[in-house]
């Protein structure tokens, strides 16, 4: 169960005889602590003697949509033996990645399969009707376990010394002297790098949003980063970072992340009309839903292209969320369900008590909806306050048809939510508390003093544009 097993002394892979091959299998079997050997017949091992190119292509390719449970279990075994081969052979493996995107695709597919396997297992337990598959799941408790998945990702990160390399890049030094024997090879470097993005994703799927953001300490989020060269990776990174910020209630930061990537995609979509782009379209729509929710929490002026797209895709929902009140709650629920990651539980469900297995998505939705409920009156209160510079609390309560003491509480809530941690420099988890609202107020007894933050005219852009025209 310990993660350090990944770095356990490797069994030498001297001459690649069948005996060695079996030993490798045994070694790996020990690692994942199989309780039985039932899976022997479904075992698919990575075979360094075989057609390497075909096998490398296989692990990067999506599993068939209708793949059987046996295929999914076998696929796990294949990944394990592949990573075992990469990590625990004697010295680094001398293979060039088959393609530019290969390392990303392997990690992406590896996590995708982990994710869908756990979701499937959860559904089986909830329904409790497919006894055959449930039995297979019972027999394979450790397959696609979160400790093994994390083990792979952390081991790839450590082997490639990618953290040290990224730190060197930040300091503006040459990475070669920090990369070590493994990390200097493109195969390990890119696997290590994308494993960091993979960790971000796994932590987020397990509901650990702060650790998800912490994972990216080593990576700089800018267009020069390695992930930016693979469109899908670029996109995934921003989705999970933005989502984690949203769950930490740092809406301004979430909006900044979603805006960045959505603008980027809208500008480059003409160059990216390929298979990858189809994948992106779905996530793209999800991010429009997420940014719409964040803006409903915290009114923000968006880039025009994003604003137009939200109106097109979610116009009605966007209006209703911005209006707040109890009518907005079902909209928030629907939007959250449609755009959140497919959350998973790290441990196998309780197959004996189907009714106690709650879908993790429902769990995170419930937590999120509590926050939505606490804030749902803010839009109404704010819309009234904007009209006055001073206002009597009881009079306003009369307009809003609430008890004065309820309104007093709502004013406090609204004020608290306008003070938000926002990133300014440094790591993703850092930030300073700023007033993120264009409205501020204070209570003097029952008198509300309202003030507004006015945005001065923006002249420089206009001036520069016109100058450029006259030249």
């Amino acid at each position: 169960m310990s993660l350090r097993q990944g770095a356990a002394p490797a069994r030498p892979l001297a001459d690649e005889s069948d005996a060695e091959e079996d030993a490798l299998v045994e070694d790996y079997r020990e690692q994942v602590r199989y309780d039985n050997n039932d899976t022997q017949d479904t075992f698919t091992s990575f075979d360094p003697q075989g057609a390497i190119a075909a096998q490398l292509a296989a692990v990067a390719a999506p599993l068939d949509f209708q793949a059987t449970l046996d295929t999914k279990l076998a696929s796990y075994d294949l990944y394990c033996s592949l990573f075992h081969y990469f990590l625990n052979s004697e010295g680094p493996i001398d293979i060039e990645p088959p393609s530019h995107n290969w390392a990303w695709e392997v990690i992406d597919e590896f996590i995708y399969q982990f994710n869908s396997f756990c979701s499937h297992r959860q559904k089986l337990a909830q329904k409790g009707d497919n006894q055959e598959e449930i039995q297979i799941m019972r027999d394979n408790q450790h397959t696609w376990g979160c400790y093994s998945v994390l083990n792979v990702l952390y081991s790839l990160i450590q082997r490639s010394q990618i953290a040290e390399q990224q730190a060197a890049i930040k300091r503006g030094e040459d990475t070669a002297q920090y990369a070590g024997e493994y990390g200097n090879r493109p195969l390990y470097r890119s696997l290590g790098y994308f494993s960091i993005i993979g960790l971000l994703r796994v932590h987020c799927l397990l509901g650990d949003f702060s650790l998800a953001l912490k994972t990216l300490d080593d990576i700089e989020l800018n267009k020069k980063s390695m992930f930016a060269r693979v469109m899908d990776a670029h996109f995934t990174t921003y989705y999970y970072v933005g989502f984690s910020y949203m769950m930490m209630r740092r809406y301004a930061d979430a909006i900044r992340m979603f805006s960045h990537i959505l603008v980027y995609v809208s500008r480059t979509k003409n160059y990216n009309k390929n298979a990858q782009y189809d994948n992106i379209t779905k996530k793209n729509d999800q991010m429009y839903a997420l940014i719409a929710m964040c803006v409903a929490f915290q009114p923000t002026r968006l880039d025009d292209t994003i604003h137009t797209a939200i109106r097109e895709k979610y116009g009605e929902q966007f209006n209703r969320m911005q209006r707040g009140g109890p009518e907005s709650l079902p909209i928030f629920e629907e939007m959250f369900r449609g755009s959140c990651p497919k959350f998973i539980s790290p441990t196998p469900p309780d197959f004996d008590n189907p009714e106690i297995n709650v879908d993790p998505i429902e769990h995170h939705l419930a937590i999120f909806m509590d926050e939505v409920k606490n804030n749902m009156w803010s839009p109404t209160v704010k819309s009234y306050l904007k009209l006055y510079t001073t206002m009597d609390l009881k009079k306003l309560a009369g307009f809003l048809e609430v008890e004065p003491e309820k309104l007093r509480s709502q004013l406090l809530v609204n004020k608290q939510r306008s003070r938000q941690v926002r990133w300014s420099e440094g790591f993703l988890l850092d930030g300073e508390v700023v007033n993120s609202s264009d409205l501020d107020y204070a209570l003097q007894g029952d008198l509300i003093h309202v003030s507004e933050v006015k945005i001065g005219r923006r002249l420089v852009d206009w001036y520069l544009r016109n100058l450029a025209r006259t030249y």
């Binding site: 702060s210 008590n353 995170h364 850092d430 933050v453 420089v460």
Partner: protein, 246 residues
């Protein structure tokens, strides 16, 4: 404005820092160390959310190691720093069934940890009352059931920590407030109230109202955001001026 780092705590001992930064944060053997650290936080009135989340993660991965009192202590500590998202972040790492309505689990004795679910849900109720600034209801709920006395027993000075935090939040929004309202919000009366307002908060009581000294947050001054012009924005223009002498 000072930079706040979510993963930083001024009170964190070095050995905890080391575990958090390494792979030992996943090692079930560190559960003991983290649990002891939670107790220290409860006793010393310190707080370290990032370390507590690491412990909840260990419990999430190894449910058989999970200790109910430790989890509820972490949740109670998270209440004391409302309205931060800490409480929600802790909830996210608990088993999904803990938030399921209790009534349905009564019919099923196999869901053996019903008392734990109930405790978590009651604490969540408190958290929602705090998050919606309904402080009077918060105190009423806290006094309504002996369960809460047990839950907060380990957290030294819980009530005082809550009062101080409520006062901090009030001071951000209020310049002057009716004594009766604040009495309800702090759940203090007469001499105790006077003492807390004067000694702990340093505010002034003026007959039926309490005056909160001016601070940055309760000023509510109107401001105008001016454009921030950088020289770089003109670089192209200046370059062109050199290239094509007008």
């Amino acid at each position: 404005m000072p930079i706040i780092s979510f993963d930083y705590s001024p009170d964190r001992p070095e050995h905890i820092e080391t575990i958090l930064n390494g792979l030992d944060r996943y090692n079930p053997e560190t559960t003991e160390i983290f649990s002891k650290y939670v107790m220290e936080q409860c006793e010393n009135r310190t707080y370290d959310c990032y370390a507590n989340l690491a412990l909840l993660k260990l419990f999430q991965f190894n449910p058989h190691l999970s200790r109910d009192e430790t989890v509820t202590n972490i949740l109670v500590k998270a209440l004391t720093v409302f309205p931060s998202p800490d409480f929600s972040l802790c909830l996210s790492l608990l088993q999904p069934h803990v938030l399921r309505p209790i009534s349905s689990s009564h019919s099923n004795p196999a869901a053996g940890d019903a008392p734990f679910s109930e405790a978590v849900q009651q604490l969540n109720k408190l958290n929602n009352q705090l998050s919606s600034a309904d402080y009077a209801s918060f105190w009423a709920t806290l006094d309504s059931d002996d369960l809460f006395a047990d839950l907060v027993a380990d957290v030294a000075g819980f009530e005082e920590l809550m009062r101080v935090q409520i006062a901090v939040e009030v001071s951000k929004c209020v310049r002057e407030i009716q004594r009766s309202v604040l009495e309800d919000w702090l759940n203090l009366r007469a001499g105790e109230f006077d003492n807390f307002i004067n000694k702990v908060c340093g505010w002034e009581i003026d007959g039926a109202s309490v005056t909160v000294p001016a601070n940055k947050e309760n000023e509510a001054k109107g401001t105008v955001v001016r454009e921030n012009v950088k020289f770089d924005q003109f670089s192209r223009l200046i370059k062109r001026a050199y290239e094509q002498p007008a």
